[in-house]
Amino acid sequence: MSNAPWAFVAALAAVPVLVPNPYVLAVLTLAGIFVIGAISLNLLLGYTGQLSLGHGAFFGLGAYASALTSLGFDIGIGFGLRLRVDPQPVWLGFLMAILVACAFGWMLGRLAFRVRGAYFVIITICFAQVLRMVALNWVELTQGPMALISIPPVSLWLPGLGVVPLVTKAQTYWLVLAVGVLAFLLVRQLVESRIGRALIALRSNEALARSVGIPVTHYLVVAAVVSAGIAGAAGSLFAHYMGIVDPDVFMFIYTVTMVIMVVTGGKGTLWGPVVGGLIFGLIPDLLRGRAAPELQWVIYGVAMILFVMFLPRGIVPGVQSLLRRRA
Protein backbone atom coordinates (compact mmCIF):
# COMPACT_ATOMS: atom_id res chain seq x y z
CA MET A 1 0.00 0.00 0.00
CA SER A 2 2.75 2.44 0.90
CA ASN A 3 4.21 2.31 -2.62
CA ALA A 4 0.90 2.43 -4.43
CA PRO A 5 0.46 6.23 -4.15
CA TRP A 6 3.91 6.87 -5.63
CA ALA A 7 3.23 4.37 -8.42
CA PHE A 8 0.04 6.32 -9.12
CA VAL A 9 1.96 9.60 -9.26
CA ALA A 10 4.61 8.02 -11.51
CA ALA A 11 1.91 6.72 -13.83
CA LEU A 12 0.33 10.17 -14.00
CA ALA A 13 3.74 11.72 -14.66
CA ALA A 14 4.32 9.31 -17.53
CA VAL A 15 1.08 10.22 -19.32
CA PRO A 16 2.53 13.05 -21.47
CA VAL A 17 5.27 10.69 -22.66
CA LEU A 18 2.96 7.77 -23.37
CA VAL A 19 0.01 9.77 -24.71
CA PRO A 20 1.45 12.93 -26.28
CA ASN A 21 -2.03 14.03 -27.34
CA PRO A 22 -2.57 17.74 -26.53
CA TYR A 23 -6.32 17.30 -26.15
CA VAL A 24 -5.93 14.51 -23.59
CA LEU A 25 -3.34 16.55 -21.70
CA ALA A 26 -5.51 19.67 -21.74
CA VAL A 27 -8.45 17.74 -20.31
CA LEU A 28 -6.29 16.12 -17.63
CA THR A 29 -4.68 19.45 -16.72
CA LEU A 30 -8.02 21.12 -16.16
CA ALA A 31 -9.28 18.13 -14.18
CA GLY A 32 -6.06 18.29 -12.13
CA ILE A 33 -6.67 21.95 -11.27
CA PHE A 34 -10.10 21.02 -9.98
CA VAL A 35 -8.69 18.07 -8.06
CA ILE A 36 -6.47 20.58 -6.23
CA GLY A 37 -9.56 22.68 -5.52
CA ALA A 38 -11.34 19.57 -4.22
CA ILE A 39 -8.36 18.66 -2.02
CA SER A 40 -8.52 22.10 -0.46
CA LEU A 41 -12.27 21.96 0.06
CA ASN A 42 -11.96 18.51 1.64
CA LEU A 43 -9.86 19.97 4.43
CA LEU A 44 -12.84 22.10 5.46
CA LEU A 45 -15.83 20.01 4.43
CA GLY A 46 -14.29 16.61 5.14
CA TYR A 47 -12.16 17.19 8.20
CA THR A 48 -13.94 19.99 10.03
CA GLY A 49 -17.41 19.11 8.74
CA GLN A 50 -18.17 22.73 7.85
CA LEU A 51 -19.87 23.11 4.47
CA SER A 52 -18.46 26.18 2.75
CA LEU A 53 -20.45 27.03 -0.37
CA GLY A 54 -18.19 29.97 -1.07
CA HIS A 55 -15.10 27.96 -1.64
CA GLY A 56 -14.92 28.90 -5.31
CA ALA A 57 -14.27 32.45 -4.09
CA PHE A 58 -10.76 31.51 -2.99
CA PHE A 59 -10.19 29.88 -6.35
CA GLY A 60 -11.36 33.09 -8.04
CA LEU A 61 -9.34 35.31 -5.71
CA GLY A 62 -6.24 33.31 -6.53
CA ALA A 63 -6.95 33.58 -10.24
CA TYR A 64 -7.42 37.36 -10.09
CA ALA A 65 -4.54 38.02 -7.68
CA SER A 66 -2.15 36.04 -9.81
CA ALA A 67 -3.34 37.51 -13.10
CA LEU A 68 -3.26 41.09 -11.81
CA THR A 69 0.20 40.70 -10.30
CA SER A 70 1.65 39.36 -13.52
CA LEU A 71 -0.20 41.83 -15.77
CA GLY A 72 0.28 44.85 -13.52
CA PHE A 73 -2.43 47.43 -12.89
CA ASP A 74 -2.87 51.13 -12.30
CA ILE A 75 -5.93 52.16 -10.33
CA GLY A 76 -7.23 55.17 -8.43
CA ILE A 77 -7.69 54.48 -4.74
CA GLY A 78 -9.37 57.72 -3.77
CA PHE A 79 -8.06 61.07 -2.48
CA GLY A 80 -6.41 61.55 -5.86
CA LEU A 81 -3.95 58.76 -5.16
CA ARG A 82 -3.12 56.00 -7.57
CA LEU A 83 -1.80 52.51 -6.93
CA ARG A 84 0.41 51.26 -9.68
CA VAL A 85 1.95 47.83 -9.97
CA ASP A 86 4.21 46.98 -12.88
CA PRO A 87 3.96 43.53 -14.40
CA GLN A 88 5.70 41.05 -12.11
CA PRO A 89 7.11 37.59 -12.78
CA VAL A 90 4.51 34.85 -12.73
CA TRP A 91 5.96 33.04 -9.73
CA LEU A 92 5.34 36.18 -7.70
CA GLY A 93 1.75 36.14 -8.95
CA PHE A 94 1.45 32.55 -7.79
CA LEU A 95 2.69 33.51 -4.32
CA MET A 96 0.37 36.52 -4.22
CA ALA A 97 -2.54 34.24 -5.14
CA ILE A 98 -1.78 32.05 -2.12
CA LEU A 99 -1.23 35.01 0.21
CA VAL A 100 -4.37 36.87 -0.82
CA ALA A 101 -6.48 33.71 -0.58
CA CYS A 102 -5.01 32.93 2.86
CA ALA A 103 -5.75 36.48 4.05
CA PHE A 104 -9.36 36.25 2.90
CA GLY A 105 -9.61 32.74 4.36
CA TRP A 106 -8.53 34.12 7.70
CA MET A 107 -11.04 36.97 7.50
CA LEU A 108 -13.91 34.75 6.43
CA GLY A 109 -12.95 32.18 9.06
CA ARG A 110 -12.89 34.74 11.87
CA LEU A 111 -16.28 36.05 10.77
CA ALA A 112 -18.13 32.94 9.71
CA PHE A 113 -17.03 30.49 12.41
CA ARG A 114 -18.98 32.47 14.97
CA VAL A 115 -21.94 30.54 13.62
CA ARG A 116 -22.57 27.01 12.42
CA GLY A 117 -24.78 25.07 10.09
CA ALA A 118 -27.10 26.94 7.76
CA TYR A 119 -25.84 30.35 8.95
CA PHE A 120 -22.27 29.43 8.09
CA VAL A 121 -23.32 28.16 4.66
CA ILE A 122 -25.20 31.40 3.93
CA ILE A 123 -22.26 33.61 4.95
CA THR A 124 -19.91 31.68 2.67
CA ILE A 125 -22.33 31.94 -0.27
CA CYS A 126 -22.65 35.69 0.26
CA PHE A 127 -18.88 36.03 0.43
CA ALA A 128 -18.47 34.47 -3.03
CA GLN A 129 -21.31 36.51 -4.53
CA VAL A 130 -19.94 39.78 -3.16
CA LEU A 131 -16.58 39.01 -4.73
CA ARG A 132 -18.27 38.23 -8.03
CA MET A 133 -19.99 41.62 -7.90
CA VAL A 134 -16.68 43.32 -7.17
CA ALA A 135 -15.02 41.51 -10.07
CA LEU A 136 -17.88 42.51 -12.38
CA ASN A 137 -18.05 46.14 -11.38
CA TRP A 138 -14.55 47.26 -10.43
CA VAL A 139 -13.77 47.63 -14.11
CA GLU A 140 -10.66 49.74 -13.59
CA LEU A 141 -9.00 46.85 -11.77
CA THR A 142 -10.59 43.71 -13.17
CA GLN A 143 -11.85 44.88 -16.61
CA GLY A 144 -15.23 43.60 -15.39
CA PRO A 145 -17.02 41.43 -17.94
CA MET A 146 -14.37 42.32 -20.54
CA ALA A 147 -12.12 39.97 -18.56
CA LEU A 148 -8.39 40.01 -17.92
CA ILE A 149 -6.73 38.74 -21.05
CA SER A 150 -3.26 37.82 -22.27
CA ILE A 151 -2.27 36.42 -18.90
CA PRO A 152 1.25 35.04 -19.35
CA PRO A 153 1.91 31.33 -18.81
CA VAL A 154 3.78 30.15 -15.72
CA SER A 155 7.54 30.39 -16.09
CA LEU A 156 9.88 28.32 -14.02
CA TRP A 157 13.54 28.48 -13.25
CA LEU A 158 15.07 25.18 -14.26
CA PRO A 159 18.70 24.21 -13.62
CA GLY A 160 20.77 24.68 -16.76
CA LEU A 161 17.94 26.25 -18.72
CA GLY A 162 17.32 29.47 -16.82
CA VAL A 163 13.80 30.84 -16.67
CA VAL A 164 11.58 29.06 -19.17
CA PRO A 165 7.90 29.78 -19.77
CA LEU A 166 5.82 26.61 -19.55
CA VAL A 167 3.98 26.83 -22.83
CA THR A 168 3.54 23.24 -23.94
CA LYS A 169 0.65 21.18 -22.70
CA ALA A 170 2.99 18.59 -21.19
CA GLN A 171 4.90 21.20 -19.16
CA THR A 172 1.69 22.69 -17.75
CA TYR A 173 0.40 19.22 -17.00
CA TRP A 174 3.52 18.39 -14.99
CA LEU A 175 3.32 21.69 -13.14
CA VAL A 176 -0.30 21.02 -12.12
CA LEU A 177 0.65 17.48 -11.11
CA ALA A 178 3.50 18.79 -8.96
CA VAL A 179 1.30 21.38 -7.24
CA GLY A 180 -1.34 18.69 -6.75
CA VAL A 181 1.13 16.34 -5.08
CA LEU A 182 2.35 19.17 -2.83
CA ALA A 183 -1.22 20.08 -1.88
CA PHE A 184 -1.98 16.44 -1.10
CA LEU A 185 1.14 16.09 1.06
CA LEU A 186 0.42 19.34 2.89
CA VAL A 187 -3.13 18.26 3.72
CA ARG A 188 -1.91 14.82 4.78
CA GLN A 189 0.73 16.36 7.03
CA LEU A 190 -1.86 18.61 8.64
CA VAL A 191 -4.48 15.91 9.05
CA GLU A 192 -2.07 13.45 10.65
CA SER A 193 -0.82 16.06 13.09
CA ARG A 194 -2.27 17.16 16.42
CA ILE A 195 -4.30 19.74 14.53
CA GLY A 196 -5.84 17.05 12.34
CA ARG A 197 -6.87 14.97 15.34
CA ALA A 198 -8.39 18.07 16.90
CA LEU A 199 -10.33 18.78 13.68
CA ILE A 200 -11.65 15.21 13.56
CA ALA A 201 -12.60 15.46 17.22
CA LEU A 202 -14.52 18.69 16.82
CA ARG A 203 -16.25 17.39 13.69
CA SER A 204 -17.74 14.48 15.60
CA ASN A 205 -18.62 16.28 18.82
CA GLU A 206 -17.89 19.96 19.13
CA ALA A 207 -19.13 20.35 22.71
CA LEU A 208 -16.96 17.47 23.87
CA ALA A 209 -14.01 18.86 21.91
CA ARG A 210 -14.39 22.21 23.64
CA SER A 211 -14.76 20.54 27.00
CA VAL A 212 -11.39 18.78 26.69
CA GLY A 213 -9.80 22.13 25.89
CA ILE A 214 -9.49 22.18 22.11
CA PRO A 215 -9.52 25.82 20.97
CA VAL A 216 -12.15 25.01 18.38
CA THR A 217 -12.43 28.35 16.60
CA HIS A 218 -8.68 28.69 16.36
CA TYR A 219 -8.28 25.32 14.65
CA LEU A 220 -11.22 25.99 12.33
CA VAL A 221 -9.57 29.24 11.24
CA VAL A 222 -6.26 27.45 10.68
CA ALA A 223 -8.04 24.92 8.47
CA ALA A 224 -9.83 27.71 6.59
CA VAL A 225 -6.56 29.57 5.94
CA VAL A 226 -4.71 26.50 4.64
CA SER A 227 -7.72 25.44 2.60
CA ALA A 228 -8.08 28.91 1.08
CA GLY A 229 -4.37 29.07 0.27
CA ILE A 230 -4.47 25.80 -1.67
CA ALA A 231 -7.61 26.89 -3.51
CA GLY A 232 -5.84 30.16 -4.35
CA ALA A 233 -2.92 28.22 -5.81
CA ALA A 234 -5.36 26.22 -7.94
CA GLY A 235 -6.97 29.47 -9.10
CA SER A 236 -3.58 30.85 -10.06
CA LEU A 237 -2.81 27.75 -12.14
CA PHE A 238 -6.21 28.12 -13.77
CA ALA A 239 -5.60 31.78 -14.70
CA HIS A 240 -2.18 31.19 -16.23
CA TYR A 241 -3.28 28.04 -17.99
CA MET A 242 -6.41 29.58 -19.55
CA GLY A 243 -4.74 32.93 -20.20
CA ILE A 244 -8.02 34.68 -19.36
CA VAL A 245 -9.99 35.33 -16.18
CA ASP A 246 -13.48 36.76 -15.99
CA PRO A 247 -15.97 37.18 -13.13
CA ASP A 248 -17.48 33.81 -13.99
CA VAL A 249 -14.74 32.14 -11.94
CA PHE A 250 -16.81 33.18 -8.92
CA MET A 251 -19.85 31.34 -10.20
CA PHE A 252 -21.63 29.00 -7.86
CA ILE A 253 -21.19 26.06 -10.24
CA TYR A 254 -17.44 25.88 -9.56
CA THR A 255 -18.00 25.52 -5.84
CA VAL A 256 -20.76 22.99 -6.40
CA THR A 257 -18.50 20.98 -8.69
CA MET A 258 -15.86 20.84 -5.97
CA VAL A 259 -18.46 19.80 -3.38
CA ILE A 260 -19.64 17.01 -5.71
CA MET A 261 -16.06 15.83 -6.16
CA VAL A 262 -15.39 15.74 -2.43
CA VAL A 263 -18.69 14.12 -1.44
CA THR A 264 -18.73 11.42 -4.12
CA GLY A 265 -15.04 10.66 -3.65
CA GLY A 266 -15.35 10.44 0.12
CA LYS A 267 -15.14 13.47 2.37
CA GLY A 268 -12.72 13.24 5.23
CA THR A 269 -10.46 10.82 3.38
CA LEU A 270 -7.18 11.87 1.79
CA TRP A 271 -7.86 10.12 -1.53
CA GLY A 272 -11.55 10.95 -1.78
CA PRO A 273 -11.17 14.33 -3.50
CA VAL A 274 -8.53 12.91 -5.85
CA VAL A 275 -10.76 10.06 -6.99
CA GLY A 276 -13.96 12.12 -7.04
CA GLY A 277 -12.14 15.00 -8.71
CA LEU A 278 -10.76 12.84 -11.48
CA ILE A 279 -14.09 11.13 -12.13
CA PHE A 280 -16.23 14.24 -12.18
CA GLY A 281 -13.51 16.33 -13.78
CA LEU A 282 -13.23 13.90 -16.66
CA ILE A 283 -16.85 12.78 -17.18
CA PRO A 284 -17.91 15.94 -19.07
CA ASP A 285 -15.00 15.59 -21.50
CA LEU A 286 -15.38 11.85 -21.92
CA LEU A 287 -19.02 12.38 -22.90
CA ARG A 288 -18.29 15.23 -25.29
CA GLY A 289 -18.83 14.03 -28.85
CA ARG A 290 -20.20 10.71 -27.61
CA ALA A 291 -23.53 11.90 -26.28
CA ALA A 292 -25.84 14.72 -27.29
CA PRO A 293 -25.15 17.89 -25.28
CA GLU A 294 -28.50 17.69 -23.49
CA LEU A 295 -27.81 14.09 -22.58
CA GLN A 296 -24.34 14.79 -21.19
CA TRP A 297 -25.62 16.55 -18.10
CA VAL A 298 -28.30 13.95 -17.60
CA ILE A 299 -25.61 11.25 -17.53
CA TYR A 300 -23.48 13.40 -15.21
CA GLY A 301 -26.43 13.79 -12.85
CA VAL A 302 -27.38 10.12 -12.95
CA ALA A 303 -23.78 9.07 -12.29
CA MET A 304 -23.71 11.39 -9.27
CA ILE A 305 -26.99 10.03 -7.91
CA LEU A 306 -25.83 6.43 -8.37
CA PHE A 307 -22.58 7.09 -6.51
CA VAL A 308 -24.40 8.77 -3.66
CA MET A 309 -27.03 6.03 -3.50
CA PHE A 310 -24.72 3.04 -3.55
CA LEU A 311 -21.64 4.53 -1.90
CA PRO A 312 -23.19 7.05 0.48
CA ARG A 313 -19.94 7.65 2.36
CA GLY A 314 -18.08 8.13 -0.91
CA ILE A 315 -16.17 6.01 -3.36
CA VAL A 316 -12.95 5.66 -1.37
CA PRO A 317 -14.49 4.57 1.98
CA GLY A 318 -16.98 2.39 0.08
CA VAL A 319 -14.32 0.55 -1.89
CA GLN A 320 -12.14 0.24 1.21
CA SER A 321 -14.89 -1.47 3.18
CA LEU A 322 -15.66 -3.73 0.20
CA LEU A 323 -12.03 -4.81 0.02
CA ARG A 324 -11.95 -5.37 3.77
CA ARG A 325 -15.00 -7.61 3.56
CA ARG A 326 -13.33 -9.64 0.83
CA ALA A 327 -10.19 -10.13 2.86
Binding site: R197, L208, R210, S211, V212, G213, I214
Partner: protein, 234 residues
Amino acid sequence: MLRLDGLSVGYGGPLALQDLSLEVRDGELVSLIGANGAGKSTTLKAISGLLKPQAGRITWGGEAIGGLSPRAVIARGIAHCPEGRRVFPQLSVRENLEMGALLRRDHGGIAADLAAMCDRFPRLRERLSQAAGTLSGGEQQMLAIARALMSRPRLVMFDEPSLGLAPSLVEQVFAIVREIRAKGTTVLMVEQNAMAALQMADRAYLLEAGQLVQAGTGAELLASPEVRAAYLGG
Protein backbone atom coordinates in the same frame (compact mmCIF):
# COMPACT_ATOMS: atom_id res chain seq x y z
CA MET B 1 -12.80 25.40 47.07
CA LEU B 2 -15.46 25.60 44.32
CA ARG B 3 -18.18 28.12 45.06
CA LEU B 4 -21.16 29.25 43.04
CA ASP B 5 -22.82 32.46 44.23
CA GLY B 6 -26.15 33.45 42.75
CA LEU B 7 -25.40 31.77 39.45
CA SER B 8 -27.92 32.32 36.64
CA VAL B 9 -27.51 30.76 33.22
CA GLY B 10 -29.76 30.77 30.16
CA TYR B 11 -29.76 29.54 26.60
CA GLY B 12 -31.32 32.73 25.27
CA GLY B 13 -34.85 32.06 26.51
CA PRO B 14 -36.01 31.72 30.09
CA LEU B 15 -33.22 31.03 32.57
CA ALA B 16 -32.23 27.37 32.81
CA LEU B 17 -30.64 28.06 36.15
CA GLN B 18 -31.62 30.78 38.61
CA ASP B 19 -29.67 32.19 41.48
CA LEU B 20 -27.90 28.96 42.39
CA SER B 21 -25.41 28.98 45.23
CA LEU B 22 -23.47 25.91 46.23
CA GLU B 23 -20.03 24.83 47.24
CA VAL B 24 -17.81 21.82 46.83
CA ARG B 25 -15.05 21.44 49.40
CA ASP B 26 -11.71 19.79 48.96
CA GLY B 27 -11.93 16.02 48.77
CA GLU B 28 -15.71 15.88 48.84
CA LEU B 29 -18.08 13.91 46.66
CA VAL B 30 -21.04 16.17 45.99
CA SER B 31 -24.12 15.06 44.06
CA LEU B 32 -26.60 17.22 42.16
CA ILE B 33 -29.94 15.52 41.82
CA GLY B 34 -33.24 16.52 40.27
CA ALA B 35 -35.57 15.76 37.40
CA ASN B 36 -34.87 16.26 33.72
CA GLY B 37 -34.49 19.94 32.92
CA ALA B 38 -33.81 20.91 36.51
CA GLY B 39 -30.56 22.61 35.50
CA LYS B 40 -28.05 20.01 36.65
CA SER B 41 -26.14 19.69 33.38
CA THR B 42 -26.38 23.44 32.88
CA THR B 43 -24.60 23.93 36.18
CA LEU B 44 -21.71 21.72 35.11
CA LYS B 45 -21.50 23.40 31.70
CA ALA B 46 -21.33 26.82 33.33
CA ILE B 47 -18.51 25.70 35.62
CA SER B 48 -16.51 24.14 32.79
CA GLY B 49 -16.91 27.21 30.59
CA LEU B 50 -19.15 25.69 27.92
CA LEU B 51 -21.84 28.20 28.92
CA LYS B 52 -21.37 31.79 30.02
CA PRO B 53 -23.12 32.76 33.26
CA GLN B 54 -25.60 35.63 32.91
CA ALA B 55 -25.25 36.56 36.54
CA GLY B 56 -23.46 35.38 39.63
CA ARG B 57 -19.95 34.27 40.44
CA ILE B 58 -18.04 31.03 40.11
CA THR B 59 -14.90 30.92 42.21
CA TRP B 60 -12.31 28.19 42.34
CA GLY B 61 -9.74 28.37 45.11
CA GLY B 62 -10.61 32.05 45.48
CA GLU B 63 -10.20 32.89 41.80
CA ALA B 64 -13.21 33.97 39.74
CA ILE B 65 -13.50 31.53 36.82
CA GLY B 66 -16.99 32.37 35.53
CA GLY B 67 -16.87 33.07 31.80
CA LEU B 68 -13.39 31.63 31.24
CA SER B 69 -12.91 29.38 28.21
CA PRO B 70 -13.15 25.61 28.75
CA ARG B 71 -9.45 25.45 27.99
CA ALA B 72 -8.63 27.87 30.78
CA VAL B 73 -10.87 25.98 33.20
CA ILE B 74 -9.17 22.63 32.50
CA ALA B 75 -5.80 24.29 32.89
CA ARG B 76 -6.92 25.20 36.43
CA GLY B 77 -7.59 21.56 37.26
CA ILE B 78 -11.30 21.05 36.58
CA ALA B 79 -12.26 18.21 34.21
CA HIS B 80 -15.74 17.74 32.77
CA CYS B 81 -17.05 14.37 31.69
CA PRO B 82 -20.14 15.41 29.70
CA GLU B 83 -23.29 13.38 29.16
CA GLY B 84 -24.50 11.99 25.87
CA ARG B 85 -21.95 10.93 23.30
CA ARG B 86 -18.97 10.61 25.55
CA VAL B 87 -16.05 9.80 23.25
CA PHE B 88 -14.69 10.84 19.87
CA PRO B 89 -15.87 7.86 17.80
CA GLN B 90 -13.44 8.23 14.88
CA LEU B 91 -10.35 8.61 17.03
CA SER B 92 -8.61 5.61 18.51
CA VAL B 93 -8.84 4.79 22.20
CA ARG B 94 -5.28 6.01 22.64
CA GLU B 95 -6.02 9.30 20.84
CA ASN B 96 -9.08 9.77 23.01
CA LEU B 97 -6.97 9.36 26.11
CA GLU B 98 -4.36 11.76 24.75
CA MET B 99 -7.12 14.32 24.14
CA GLY B 100 -7.65 14.32 27.89
CA ALA B 101 -4.04 15.40 28.36
CA LEU B 102 -4.21 18.03 25.63
CA LEU B 103 -2.95 20.87 27.80
CA ARG B 104 -0.18 18.93 29.54
CA ARG B 105 3.36 19.18 28.29
CA ASP B 106 5.03 16.58 30.55
CA HIS B 107 5.32 13.78 28.02
CA GLY B 108 6.77 11.34 30.52
CA GLY B 109 3.91 11.97 32.92
CA ILE B 110 1.33 11.56 30.16
CA ALA B 111 2.82 8.21 29.13
CA ALA B 112 2.84 7.04 32.75
CA ASP B 113 -0.78 8.09 33.25
CA LEU B 114 -1.76 6.36 30.02
CA ALA B 115 -0.19 3.15 31.30
CA ALA B 116 -1.92 3.60 34.64
CA MET B 117 -5.30 4.00 32.93
CA CYS B 118 -4.65 0.81 30.99
CA ASP B 119 -3.87 -0.99 34.26
CA ARG B 120 -7.05 0.34 35.82
CA PHE B 121 -9.17 -0.43 32.73
CA PRO B 122 -7.67 -3.50 31.05
CA ARG B 123 -10.37 -3.46 28.36
CA LEU B 124 -8.94 -0.18 27.11
CA ARG B 125 -5.43 -1.61 26.80
CA GLU B 126 -6.75 -4.39 24.57
CA ARG B 127 -8.38 -1.80 22.35
CA LEU B 128 -5.85 1.04 22.37
CA SER B 129 -5.57 1.33 18.60
CA GLN B 130 -9.22 0.60 17.89
CA ALA B 131 -11.64 3.41 16.99
CA ALA B 132 -13.50 4.45 20.13
CA GLY B 133 -16.82 4.27 18.25
CA THR B 134 -16.47 0.48 18.12
CA LEU B 135 -16.46 0.12 21.93
CA SER B 136 -19.53 -0.97 23.85
CA GLY B 137 -21.48 1.60 25.84
CA GLY B 138 -19.82 0.56 29.08
CA GLU B 139 -16.36 0.65 27.60
CA GLN B 140 -17.03 4.09 26.17
CA GLN B 141 -17.99 5.32 29.61
CA MET B 142 -14.80 3.86 31.10
CA LEU B 143 -12.87 5.61 28.34
CA ALA B 144 -14.62 8.89 29.05
CA ILE B 145 -13.77 8.62 32.74
CA ALA B 146 -10.17 7.72 31.98
CA ARG B 147 -9.93 10.63 29.54
CA ALA B 148 -11.16 13.05 32.18
CA LEU B 149 -8.55 11.74 34.62
CA MET B 150 -5.79 12.17 32.03
CA SER B 151 -5.81 15.92 32.67
CA ARG B 152 -4.83 15.16 36.30
CA PRO B 153 -7.76 17.18 37.60
CA ARG B 154 -8.27 18.28 41.19
CA LEU B 155 -12.02 18.32 40.55
CA VAL B 156 -13.85 15.96 38.18
CA MET B 157 -17.42 16.64 37.16
CA PHE B 158 -19.43 13.64 35.98
CA ASP B 159 -22.66 14.22 34.08
CA GLU B 160 -25.00 11.23 34.29
CA PRO B 161 -22.24 8.63 34.42
CA SER B 162 -24.75 5.76 34.66
CA LEU B 163 -27.04 6.89 31.84
CA GLY B 164 -27.80 4.16 29.33
CA LEU B 165 -25.66 1.51 30.98
CA ALA B 166 -26.67 -2.02 31.97
CA PRO B 167 -27.28 -2.44 35.75
CA SER B 168 -24.11 -4.44 36.33
CA LEU B 169 -22.07 -1.70 34.64
CA VAL B 170 -23.81 1.02 36.61
CA GLU B 171 -22.51 -0.54 39.81
CA GLN B 172 -19.02 -0.68 38.30
CA VAL B 173 -19.11 2.97 37.25
CA PHE B 174 -20.20 4.09 40.70
CA ALA B 175 -17.42 2.02 42.23
CA ILE B 176 -14.93 3.83 40.02
CA VAL B 177 -16.34 7.22 41.02
CA ARG B 178 -15.96 6.30 44.68
CA GLU B 179 -12.44 5.10 44.05
CA ILE B 180 -11.48 8.36 42.33
CA ARG B 181 -12.69 10.29 45.32
CA ALA B 182 -10.94 7.92 47.72
CA LYS B 183 -7.68 8.72 45.94
CA GLY B 184 -8.13 12.38 46.82
CA THR B 185 -9.79 13.88 43.75
CA THR B 186 -12.83 16.01 44.46
CA VAL B 187 -15.97 14.90 42.62
CA LEU B 188 -19.07 16.80 41.57
CA MET B 189 -21.62 14.43 40.08
CA VAL B 190 -24.93 14.91 38.32
CA GLU B 191 -27.03 11.77 38.50
CA GLN B 192 -30.61 10.76 37.79
CA ASN B 193 -30.28 7.66 39.91
CA ALA B 194 -30.98 9.63 43.08
CA MET B 195 -30.71 6.69 45.46
CA ALA B 196 -27.20 5.77 44.39
CA ALA B 197 -26.13 9.39 44.10
CA LEU B 198 -27.26 10.21 47.64
CA GLN B 199 -25.78 7.08 49.17
CA MET B 200 -22.37 7.90 47.73
CA ALA B 201 -22.40 11.62 48.39
CA ASP B 202 -20.94 13.50 51.31
CA ARG B 203 -23.32 16.28 50.49
CA ALA B 204 -26.01 16.78 47.90
CA TYR B 205 -28.15 19.47 46.32
CA LEU B 206 -31.64 19.00 44.95
CA LEU B 207 -32.58 21.19 42.00
CA GLU B 208 -36.04 21.75 40.58
CA ALA B 209 -36.86 23.88 37.55
CA GLY B 210 -33.55 25.68 37.68
CA GLN B 211 -33.65 26.45 41.37
CA LEU B 212 -32.11 25.00 44.48
CA VAL B 213 -34.77 23.46 46.71
CA GLN B 214 -32.82 21.46 49.23
CA ALA B 215 -29.26 20.98 50.40
CA GLY B 216 -27.67 18.77 52.99
CA THR B 217 -25.61 15.67 53.54
CA GLY B 218 -26.38 12.66 51.44
CA ALA B 219 -28.01 10.97 54.41
CA GLU B 220 -30.17 14.01 55.19
CA LEU B 221 -31.54 14.15 51.67
CA LEU B 222 -32.10 10.41 51.66
CA ALA B 223 -34.22 10.81 54.77
CA SER B 224 -36.11 13.86 53.52
CA PRO B 225 -39.80 13.12 52.85
CA GLU B 226 -39.91 15.34 49.75
CA VAL B 227 -36.92 13.64 48.20
CA ARG B 228 -38.30 10.23 49.07
CA ALA B 229 -41.67 11.05 47.55
CA ALA B 230 -40.38 12.60 44.35
CA TYR B 231 -37.21 10.70 43.53
CA LEU B 232 -36.94 7.52 45.52
CA GLY B 233 -40.37 6.08 44.89
CA GLY B 234 -41.81 6.75 48.35
